[in-house]
Symmetry: D2
Subunit: 443 residues, 4 copies
């Protein structure tokens, strides 16, 4: 049977209409035959709402994409060409805890790389590995395209502990957002911008920026130093870079780097939100509620513009262009999370990096970077150590390893505070941490 | 002429009697013919006091070591076999500023790896490179044995920008102190302890501990976790490790790791000292004053026991056993700062690392480590990035690079604070930062 | 002034009409304003013939490309965007010696990687480095595109000892020829074939072959094993591969691999040619003579079809598409010789490799390969050792180093024979080996 | 129970008296309690002869070493501290075939790295891996000390496919022989010589030679270049090095390098022996016969001096000093085959290399070498590719892989000849190649 079969795990997500819109727009080049939206029991209501909207969108567009839903991923997987994962283990309530518990102790939560992000990793990694195991059994040649955060950590885990064929790619909207921002700043089309990306997920740098083939890195750095350019996603606090720092760096940091290089200011902003009950997770929860109200409207048959505020802008573009380039063996260049394989000197060959790749039918092939600029190699390696130690804790359920992971996180100021955070977060997420069973029983 | 010629730059240091004692004790195996103590004009008085003591010590011991002094190192260098550097550019007053200025902004000073250490590096690196240039001209085959802090950074700088023959070794008393502490804890002689060291200066880990050939790493870790063992130098605040962290790490951290893993507590202790005018630098300044009073006593002809309190315990042992092993091609194992050359995977081959080496007439040859434990690789790389960026700032005098170095230091919580510290410290040390001339003039 | 300025050193070569045809065909995308053909005094007659033909070709095509000639490259270089080198130091007579002298001792000559190739390297490397020095002075931002064999060795030499900006690319028609052969075998257009190349010049492997995005490597291997497919250039003896070897290898060898894996048979064929006075060099000399007779015809205003027999098929395509992709920042994938930079694990980062690259305005960026297949890593490293040792001999003129280079060449069966070849070849090429002056004088 | 238990597999070997003598001499430092000599049914007679001699030697020496024999290694292994392997699968008759079959086709046999060595590997690797499996079950903490050739290939195989704890060391008498030769040449004791070894088994180089701590490499190179020094084992043909080659190399080749650098002459010598029925294997077979006659003499109670001629001089010294240094955690330096772990840049971290190591209770730790000299890196990598491909063939029994291994061997001049050798040798050794069952059945 011709056409592509896609399975989206966490299909009830508010992002799904973006994805559906992406598939509709690209139907000519990427003929999706079946889109399976999979969710868990707790997500059934949302799944119903989203899948109905998806069906209306497809119908309105007049493309023959079949929308299926199921609560059993094993029903969906057989024959899949691509499996996308956009799950949130513990839903937004878990994220609220990830953010509020650290903040209650004066510490950054940060749902991807901070103490909160560590717990997102502890909850998510084992689930994704289970999905990967099902893929191995039911559709072993399918590409696993992961959006679930922390996306770099998840990719690392699947590369190390998942299928032998390593058919996994981690995606993020940060790099594409940086490209879009440059395009906007130069008043040109996105297709005329190319950035050499290298680093890790939420820890990626633009080493060179090309506009219509001209290397404009220095211009972009200068505009950034003057506060005229800002490539950050909307969900990140807008704290000003110090001009001389940006010039000294000479490459383009991503929005998340503020957490590491402007830690004090970021923390202050987050503490202010915390005290008002307006942490990002809380805001998102309200936004989502509104979105689903919108989605329910039986007259809505396009992606509603309000979705943009949700923060995941360009996810759909990133995902659809990746899937399309793999499907079409396009050989174009895209930034994704994939196995390093020597592309960045000094990072283990078998670790995941976020890097510009040539995308072929055989997946992404990183473009060689060589050594990272000296000034940023350290923090990149630091986060990689944190990611790998967290994965080890996630799989072993070992408390001591978890404390080490927490302590080496650059946003945690001491192991004593780390221990407090660890204990509270473990307790708060107990239900989603089956690998820590022995620890919970031994207390 | 037979016998060894040693030139000690910064010879007026209060540590010199330790060194002299070391040479006396080892005279049989290491026949020092001439010891040249070199200092600068400002250090003349101390140089006179110390050299007189040294002469009395030598005479009392009855060994034919000639003690020479000079204020012109170029007079001393010709024919030298070993040149040791124990300089302190700007003397203790500069160190006091290194410590107090950051603390005045609520930030760790830390005279080796913190903001203060960065400035120690900015002041020291160009001077050592000048010394190395003189060595190249006057005694090109001499070994440069550096004690001046930050010793790892200095070694890195000489390896990258100094003599082609790379005859430089950086020394520190931290590793030997850890061996001594294990020996004491097990109630055995130092010679029966061997530790596999790897990392960077003041960022070194004991990967394995052997006592009489038995791998006792787990025992030492457990004792450390229980607070029964502590390998730290006396000059580091005694904050307790969290038991589970130490067990999770599974290797032996050095005392300085507290600054990174117990940052909050260390900062609190230092702030308390700061408010009492008792930062380490201030305490040391008083200790030194007392020591020099003692040294003046014409009846004193041995190293006075009070020197132990000064903090640099074992420096003499570390230095003399290194020099002796090179001289005698002993082939024994010692931890030093030297070129990595692939010994630690992931760190550039041409960077300095602190590592257990076989010591031969051709200098130290690192024992292969392979990959560092995942959990600590990140922080080691982070410090290496900081060291290299600081060296670049030291040699170029570039303000922006200096701000980047300051910001990526893990003890500096934000680039905004980093900028404040940078500006004040630059001003405070203006006199000792000739490479920043253009910056000072342009303000 | 708009348009591209190209300087072709060795412009009197019989290949030049190919290049001119290439520029004419691509004029829309690559507007060449000036093409400077440079040659030496001995090549003046050929230069006149070729440049006249070039002018007729340009006129017939109706494109405004100015053709200039000069015997002084320093006149041509200022303002150049691209400098192409297609020189043959010592002309074809030198190549005849490169091939006949080894064969006279029962040894493979092989004008690129054998004993003959070594001497081609010894003669060519210093000249190209001189050209690079002139470029540095007169048009430092120009790209040096080298066709002169041994192209990999020349690229290695310029990367290590040439301009700091490393703007050099080495080109060869072997990889493009392999792509063309696959296209022909599958009956499709060249644009639908992509091969992942990795290795060294004349030592390159096709790791994966894609036809319309499908990985057909196994099919190509099987057809090769059955003798149905052969990607070799015409100038290489057609000795049959052993079926099981090709299948065991599992990747696509290039034509030159026969010299290493089918050495005995290749040698027999060459010895037969030698005895008939029909070594490749002698044949080429006759072909060239005929070609220049053709070129003289004032009615000829296109590239004559007889040029195809000359052996350098596709050189023009390879060169023009590379120059065009750099000029247009195309971001397409092409196999070239460039700095490894970690793309192939185990080969020094600063060495030249032949590898599929993304071609941008900043030059080629290798696509990461990781480890070469185990079975071929050894021979690739062997040739790299030979290349680097030959370069060292070329630059130092050291006889002993030259003998080591000769001995480690896999086509030389013993150092005793190596010495005989070395002595005779040195004598034969004395005139072109000024760096060996001391050696010649000391005999 | 105190004392060391050693199990020697292949205990009926004529070398065993050397080993026994070594244990007797070192009884004070290495108190061997039990020595188990294990052999197979076909070796029973020799085992009886050798074990009786061993008992007489022990008794005469008056040391309480118990000598046990068994034909079942699983009886011997429990409780072993060290297991040494000195097996010869197929006995000397197999080696005769390894040498004569290639020579009958005009090709070097070479029982370790040539076509013959490849078959020795094919026969031996699976057997050693079986032994390693038994060790894992019965005495998992024992060190496997392998003498069986090709020792580097065997070590590589056990490191990659054997016990997780990687407690294997490969031994060879070549490096110790080179040290002994230097000692003799300088007229000093062996203990005063140290050589920095790096490379592979039978492909090892002395990078630096120290005599009493002085680097005398240049002197040794010069003496070698003049034919005054020769570090080869007696069993290697004495073909003269070309003086300029040795000087150009600048490091000390081992005896086996003649096969690669003086291939033509070595082959001529071997062909001459072949025609007289005096290949090394045939000579050794006769020597062994004589030795066993001697061993039978009930009055013999020491190692007979005639054993020296056998060729394995210093094996006992190499083995006993290694075992003693591990047992005593001596921390001295010895050349052994062990995991590279980054010590030699460019060779995979998980491959076996022959290298100077610090020997501790935890086994050998290589001293970092960095990059091998450029000229020799290639041939070392070539042999490593051959070793790894041979191991793959040995474990899979794949004919095509075996043909690739045969072809990439530098001593095999073409894949067509390689195929002839492969087919004949497979047939000749059919009985000892159970993994090739499928191939044999399919013919």
């Amino acid at each position: 049977m011709s056409g592509v079969k896609i399975v989206t795990i966490g299909g009830g997500s508010s992002y799904t209409p973006e994805l559906v819109e992406g598939f509709i727009k690209r139907y000519e080049e990427l003929p999706v035959r079946e889109l399976w939206l999979v969710d868990i029991e707790e997500g059934k209501e949302k799944l119903d709402i989203v899948s109905s909207l998806a069906r209306r969108m497809v119908e309105k567009a007049g493309v023959p994409i079949e929308i299926h839903t199921t609560l059993d991923r094993r029903e969906a997987l057989p024959g899949a060409d691509f499996v996308t994962t956009q799950i949130r283990v513990g839903l937004l309530d878990a994220r609220i805890k990830d953010e509020r518990i650290p903040l209650s102790h004066g510490c950054m939560g940060q749902e991807t790389n901070g103490a909160g992000g560590m717990f997102k990793g502890l909850r998510t990694v084992p689930v994704i590995l289970d999905i990967d195991k099902d893929i191995e059994e039911l559709c072993p040649d399918a590409w696993l395209i992961n959006f679930a955060n922390p996306s770099g950590m998840v990719t690392e885990a699947v590369l190390r502990y998942g299928r032998k064929n390593k058919k996994v790619v981690g995606l993020c909207n940060v790099p594409i957002g940086m490209e879009m921002a440059v395009a906007k700043d130069f008043g040109i089309d996105h297709s005329k911008v190319r950035i050499d990306f290298a680093g890790l997920n939420h820890m990626v740098f633009g080493l060179n920026v090309y506009v219509e083939g001209k290397n404009v890195t220095k211009t972009v750095v200068d505009r950034m130093a003057k506060g005229l350019f800002n490539g950050s996603p909307k969900n990140i606090q807008d704290v000003e870079w110090v001009s001389e720092f940006v010039k000294g760096l000479g490459i383009i940091p991503c929005g998340y780097h503020r957490y590491y290089f402007l830690g004090k200011e970021m923390l202050e902003k987050e503490l202010a939100e915390f005290s008002k009950g307006e942490t990002r997770a809380e805001v998102v929860k309200r936004l989502e509620k509104d979105l689903f109200e919108l989605y329910k409207d039986p007259n809505l048959d396009i992606k509603p513009p309000q979705l943009e505020k949700r923060g995941g802008a360009y996810y759909s573009d990133a995902a659809c262009r990746l899937i399309s380039s793999i499907y079409n063996d396009r050989g174009d260049i895209q930034p994704v999370n994939t196995m390093n394989n020597g592309a960045i000197t000094g990072i283990p060959a078998d670790s995941a990096v976020e890097i510009s790749c040539v995308i072929t039918k055989d997946g992404p092939k990183p473009i060689t970077v060589g050594e990272l600029p000296v000034a940023v190699n350290g923090i990149v390696q630091q986060i990689k150590s944190f990611e790998r130690t967290t994965i080890e804790a996630a799989l072993t359920g070992d408390y001591n390893t978890a404390l080490v992971a927490m302590t080496i996180n650059p946003l945690v100021p001491s192991q004593t505070i780390g221990k407090v955070l660890l204990d509270e977060l473990l307790e708060a997420h107990k239900k989603y941490l089956p690998n820590f069973k022995e620890y919970f029983e031994s207390r």
